[in-house]
Amino acid sequence: MEASDEGPRVAEVFAIGIGECGSNLVGAYLKQARERMLPPRIRGYLCMNTDRSDIQKLRQKYDIPKENTLLYGASDIGCGGNFTDGYNYVHDFKDVIMGQLTQLGFEGVSGFIIFTSSGGGTGCGGAPALIEILKQRFQEEEGRRIFVYVFTVLPFKDQTSEALNTMWSLSKLLRGQLEDRGADLVCLLSNRAMLRRILAWREGEVADFLQQQLQIDVAKVTDVEGMVPSTVDGANEASKAQESAFVELVNPLALRFVEHMLSPGVVEPGKEVFPTTDIADYARKLDPIVVPCLYTDVSLIPSAGNIAMQLKTMVKYAVEHCSFAEIGSEPAASSTYYTFSGSREYARAEYDPHIKQALRPYTAKGAAITPCFVSYEDDVHPSDLLLLLGLPQIPEIEDLVNSSTELVDLHAGPSPLRRGWFKKSKGVGEEVLRAAIRDVAELFNLEMK
């Protein structure tokens, strides 16, 4: 963070939501930000989509001005889960997109946060392409380093078509990194894990919400997250409504994480950050794929003694119960970044050794742990702990790999007519998809079935 004459200068970012999921996340984030009066960390934002009706709904729902939305693509009915279309449309409409971003004043920003879903068509295919044109625009044409963070939402359970799209999306994003044209950091947010978190602590509210929206009695359902249907392949209105209801639940949780991630860079009176941290640090010190864990309103009772044990309990709870994707009790993360914020009495740098000690059981041997303490003078700020675990073991990814493999196997075979599904539905051949699955499996050291 740099200081100027006018006061501390804040590294600003530009938020882009691509596809229905990404746009909704941006919309929800902005709405929440407006209500909470956050410092203007976001320079501007754009919600992109290839589906006209989704754009209209978005505007209406979050009160988003027309100039902050962009409808592009060959038709205005979306990509229907075909990520190749999503990818191509961004390149095809590159000038339109860049033109609108210019109008919105994206020049001079330090980075971009791209919100998307890994399993859709427009966002899944469009996000890698968008990163490519952004990197090209700033790094190759202006010679200026920018950071592009992708917050991608993994599909719900049993959404097999979305799982396959996720494989392609992750592979594409990570392979792009190798050429410095990919995402600097990919944050995985698992819908199913977030839903489980919410269900664990807000069961009553969730039950009411779902009862109201979908007439579902949660008390009688054992596997709620398994109830979210696939909506990329010819989904009906009921399925869309069902998915939308669940997304409504998990979006606020995802946004709290974004808020905490950006928080160290926000200058506020009576606030101290040690060591100084900004969004670039996350990209530099973490592996390309991270899973966040957010434990808000942490309980620490210094007067009750045994602080080391208390911090250990705090970390254990954060990893095992507050991760945004299921990582189990032994994630063996390759890198870790933690941000502990709260009033000065609690967010104390001397707790760092205890916290690191507490984190050791959850990291791989030799993995780096980077701390960040955000302390406030007053005592109204609750204590929050944000953990970013780089490349942890994610059982959910294994599920996605297996589902995707099964789906590819289902349509593979000697029959060219049968294989035609790949081109028709995904716009790529079988081999491309198998390569993507392999990439992901290898990255997470998974053995493919």
């Binding site: 664990a200 602590w201 009553g204 009695d217 008390a219 009688k220 309103d297 942490v298 309980s299 009772i301 007067s303 009750a304 003694g305 045994n306 044990m309 208390q310 309990t313 705090m314 254990k316 709870y317 095992e320 119960h321």
Partner: protein
């Protein structure tokens, strides 16, 4: 004519009359033969008749042609055609004649064969005719009709003559035989009965009229056979007839004996004759003789029956005469139906039966008369028993007299008793009707008179007039009884109404208190006497007279009584007032006005009610406005003193003696104006009691001090307004306590006590409001407040000991509600505030502690089995105790974790049930 015997061929133009004439002759001859054949044979076969008709028709046609030919020009084609036609038809006619003749000859020949077979029979029947017939031989029929027809014609004529003679002789003989047979059948049938199928011809035919000889012979033969059959049964008929006749005579003799036994006079000669006939029957007898005996028997029976019928008619006539003598129609409804008339035939049994029916009828008539008389006597008896008839005793005697001979009386006596009884009831009926009219008239009179004192509703509806036509005596008696009762009821109503009326006058006096009633005593006695008189009276007129007189005199007597009352009260009043004035009491203007009003009442009144109103008014003015005023004043003063003493007790001042004295005073409030001055004097002594005054002043001083000490606290808690009022009261106390009257001192003392109670209430109210606000503050301070409360509720003692002394706080709040001492209340109130502040600080600390529970409870699953849940909870407790070394923190979190787990389990259970 040609050689075949037909007409000779006609020549054109030549006349054909000769030939046609011949043809007509033969045709006529044949018709004659045919006619005779029909007579002889009794009819012709159709074939034969048709053949003759064909010949006739052919002849007619030729005659037609012939006529036309005669009128035609000789050389005309028509004539030629006609001649040709005639020539053509002539052979057909010729042929027809021959055929028809042959058929007739055939018939005759067959008939002759039949006669030949009967020849012997005919000979035996009539030898001459037999010979003539034998001499008649059938002629030769060779040759054509011109030759044969004349011969046959003659033969037929002879045959017809013979046949006619034979038939007539046969018919006569056959009919004679038939008649004889039928006479026998009739006789047999009368006595023995006969099966007519054995003699069917004789039984069914009445005469024989058959044409053909053979048939006649046939039927003659049958009739002869039937005659022989009938003759063969003659002996049987004789036997049967004899037996029947004997039975009839025996029966007749027995019936005659029966008739005699029924007191019918039948001459013995008839029986003797019948016995003679019986003897004759015992000897030899043939049918003719028997038939003669039958005739004699019939004659004797007829004689006997005539005699019996005569006696029957006489019996019936006698019966009717007796009934008619008492003007009783034999068709009267209570009598039995008239028996059938005496039979006219000579059937002895029927006549005797008829006699028996007549006798039975007479018995039934007697029974009916007895029954009807009994019924009338019963009606009279019931009427007597009703005891409403004026002549009940006479009637009772009459009934007794008539009832006695009833059972043994014969028809004649019965008729007499019935006649007298029915006459009596008719007479009673008439008398009763007259009495009913009298009662109805009385009823009208009562209604008219009573209307001045009774309203129509009380009187009830007037009874419907008694029906006088089509009404039986018992109904009339009942109607009279009802009417009579109604009349009595009316009189009773009338009496009671007057009783009420006079009682009302009396009652108006009786509501005057006994103290003042002395003046009305004469009047009371007068009215009571009148009421007694009316009550004892049964006469409508008497009741009315006594009642009206009493009503009229009541007014004058009432005026006298008022005069007397006024005088007495005036005297008492003067005495009492002078004493009260002497005691220093003032007589208010309204009492003076009342006294004035009393003296100016004038006894003279227009009506009784007005007079009584005046009496009441005098009493009311005296009692309520004069004596009442003094009594009320006295009572109020005693009551005020009683209340003061009661209040004094609540303040802890001993007032038993004063209470007793005041109660005594209150109990004996004076009923008479004479006692009033003494009571007022006793009360004055109680109100200035020195000891009582001292006690009250002491209490007032104590409360005054308490209130002075609380003003600061109230001011601090925003009760400035209350404090201002309180200070004002406190400032008034010293002067008020110097008063000499108990009530004045007690009044200020009570005001102080009330103020103290109000302050206590204010403190309690302040506490309640502060507590509610504090609870709200706690709820707003921590979102875990409900759990904290649950933790405390589950372990109040441990919680109070280890975390915060919440029980002390709650106990103090409860105590404040019941404490009545103001200094103590102030102390408790202040302590509670201090504890609340400490509790708030503790709550904030607990809020911090609570955040940890989410972490520990993350591993708790409320859906697990109970054992697993317990294990999880034990593990959580262990982890909490490892994490926190401070005992209070660790203990509290353990308790809270268990409470939250219980809530989660409960919610899960509820969700499952839903």
């Amino acid at each position: 004519m040609n050689k075949k015997g037909g007409c000779k061929p006609l020549t054109l133009g030549a006349p054909i009359v000769t030939t046609l004439e011949e043809l007509r002759k033969y045709y006529s001859m044949l018709k004659d033969v045919s006619s005779k054949c029909q007579t002889i044979l009794g009819g012709l076969p159709s074939e034969v008749e048709t053949s003759l008709e064909d010949v006739g028709r052919e002849l007619l046609a030729i005659e037609g042609f012939d006529r036309d030919a005669k009128t035609s020009w000789s050389l005309s084609p028509k004539k030629r055609r006609l001649v040709k036609q005639i020539d053509k038809e002539l052979p057909k006619l010729d042929k027809g004649l021959n055929r028809s003749l042959d058929l007739h000859i055939e018939l005759l020949r067959n008939y002759m064969v039949e006669l030949e077979e009967l020849k012997a029979t005919i000979m035996s029947f009539d030898i001459k005719l037999g010979r003539d017939l034998n001499n008649l031989s059938f002629p030769s029929t060779r040759g054509k009709y011109a030759v044969v027809l004349p011969v046959i014609s003659r033969f037929v004529s002879n045959l017809e003559g013979l046949s006619k003679q034979l038939r007539e002789a046969l018919l006569k003989q056959t009919n004679d035989m038939l008649e004889q047979n039928r006479a026998l059948i009739k006789t047999y049938d009368r006595f023995v009965g006969i099966d007519t199928s054995d003699v069917s011809i004789s039984a069914e035919r009445t005469s024989v009229d058959i044409n053909t000889i053979p048939e006649l012979f046939e039927i003659r033969k049958t009739l002869r056979q039937e005659h022989e059959y009938l003759t063969s049964r003659r002996g049987e008929v004789v036997d049967t007839l004899r037996a029947k006749l004997q039975a009839s005579i025996e029966s007749a003799l027995a019936l005659l004996e029966t008739a005699r036994s029924l007191n019918l006079n039948v001459p013995m000669a008839i029986s003797t004759s019948l016995e003679g006939l019986m003897k004759q029957l015992e000897g030899e007898a043939n049918l003719t003789m028997l038939l003669g005996l039958v005739q004699q028997y019939d004659g004797q029976v007829m004689k006997a029956s005539s005699e019996i019928r005569r006696q029957l008619l006489e019996f019936a006539h006698n019966l009717n005469r007796i009934l008619a003598s008492a003007n009783i129609s034999n068709e009267a409804s209570f009598l039995p139906p008239i028996p059938p008339e005496v039979p006219k035939e000579a059937d002895l049994a029927a006549l005797i039966a008829s006699y028996e029916r007549l006798q039975a009828y007479q018995t039934n008539v007697e029974t009916a008369l007895r029954s009807e008389t009994s019924r009338i006597l019963d009606d009279l008896t019931r009427a007597v028993k009703r005891k409403v008839l004026p002549n009940s005793n006479e009637l009772e005697a009459f009934v007794k007299k008539q009832t006695k001979p009833l059972n043994k009386a014969d028809l004649k006596d019965l008729v007499k008793i019935y006649s007298e009884t029915s006459g009596q009831i008719i007479e009673e009926h008439g008398k009763l009707l007259a009495e009913i009219r009298t009662q109805e008239a009385l009823l009208v009179r009562i209604s008219e008179t009573a209307s001045t004192i009774l309203d129509k509703t009380t009187m009830g509806a007037a009874p419907a007039p008694v029906r006088t036509t089509d009404i039986s005596f018992p109904e009339l008696v009942e109607a009279y009884a009802r009417l009579h009762k109604h009349v009595e009821n009316r009189i009773d109503l009338f009496r009671k109404a007057w009783e009420r009326e006079l009682n009302a006058l009396l009652a108006e006096i009786q509501v005057i208190k006994p103290t003042y009633r002395e003046s009305f005593k004469t009047m009371e006695e007068f009215l009571e006497t009148a009421i007694k008189h009316i009550r004892a009276s049964k006469s409508f007129e008497e009741i009315e007279e006594v009642a009206r007189e009493a009503q009229g005199d009541a007014l004058y007597k009432a005026q006298d009584a008022i005069e007397n009352l006024k005088y007495r009260l005036d005297l008492k009043l003067r005495l009492a007032v002078s004493k009260l004035l002497g005691m220093g009491l003032t007589i208010p203007s309204e009492v003076q006005a009342a006294i004035q009003e009393l003296t100016t009442v004038v006894p003279a009144s227009e009506t009784y009610e007005e007079a009584i109103r005046k009496a009441h008014h005098i009493v009311e003015v005296f009692e309520k406005r004069i004596v009442g005023y003094f009594n009320q004043a006295l009572n109020e003063q005693i009551k005020a003193f009683s209340e003061l003493t009661n209040v004094s007790v609540t303040l802890g001042i001993k007032t038993d003696t004063y209470v007793k004295q005041s109660m005594k005073l209150q109990e004996k409030l004076p009923a008479n104006i004479e006692e009033l001055p003494d009571r007022f004097d006793e009360l004055r002594e109680l109100l200035t009691d020195a000891k009582l005054l001292k006690d009250i002043r002491s209490k007032a001083n104590e409360v005054w001090r308490n209130l002075n000490s609380v003003t600061d606290l109230l001011e601090r808690h925003g009760q400035a307004e209350v404090v201002v009022k309180l200070k004002d009261l406190l400032a008034r106390v010293p002067d008020a306590l110097d008063a000499e009257q108990v009530n004045t001192v007690l009044e200020i003392c009570m005001a102080l006590v009330e103020a103290q109670n109000s302050v206590l209430d204010i403190l309690r109210n302040m506490e309640q409001k502060t507590e509610a606000a504090f609870e709200k503050l706690l709820e707003n301070t921590t979102e875990y407040y409900s759990t904290i409360k649950r933790v405390y509720d589950a372990r109040p003692q441990e919680f109070s000991k280890l975390i915060f002394p919440l029980d002390t706080l709650q106990n103090l709040r409860g105590k404040l509600e019941t404490v009545n001492s103001l200094p103590e209340s102030i102390d408790i109130f202040t302590t509670i505030r201090s504890l609340e502040q400490q509790w708030l600080e503790k709550i904030k600390e607990l809020d911090e502690w609570h955040k940890a529970l989410r972490v520990f409870l993350a591993d708790f699953n409320p859906a697990s089995p109970k054992a697993e849940r317990n294990r999880q909870l034990n593990e959580i407790e262990k982890r909490i105790r490892e994490t926190y070394s401070r005992e209070d923190t660790a203990n509290y979190l353990t308790w809270a974790a268990r409470e939250l787990a219980a809530v989660m389990i409960d919610q899960k259970e509820k969700a499952k049930k839903k």
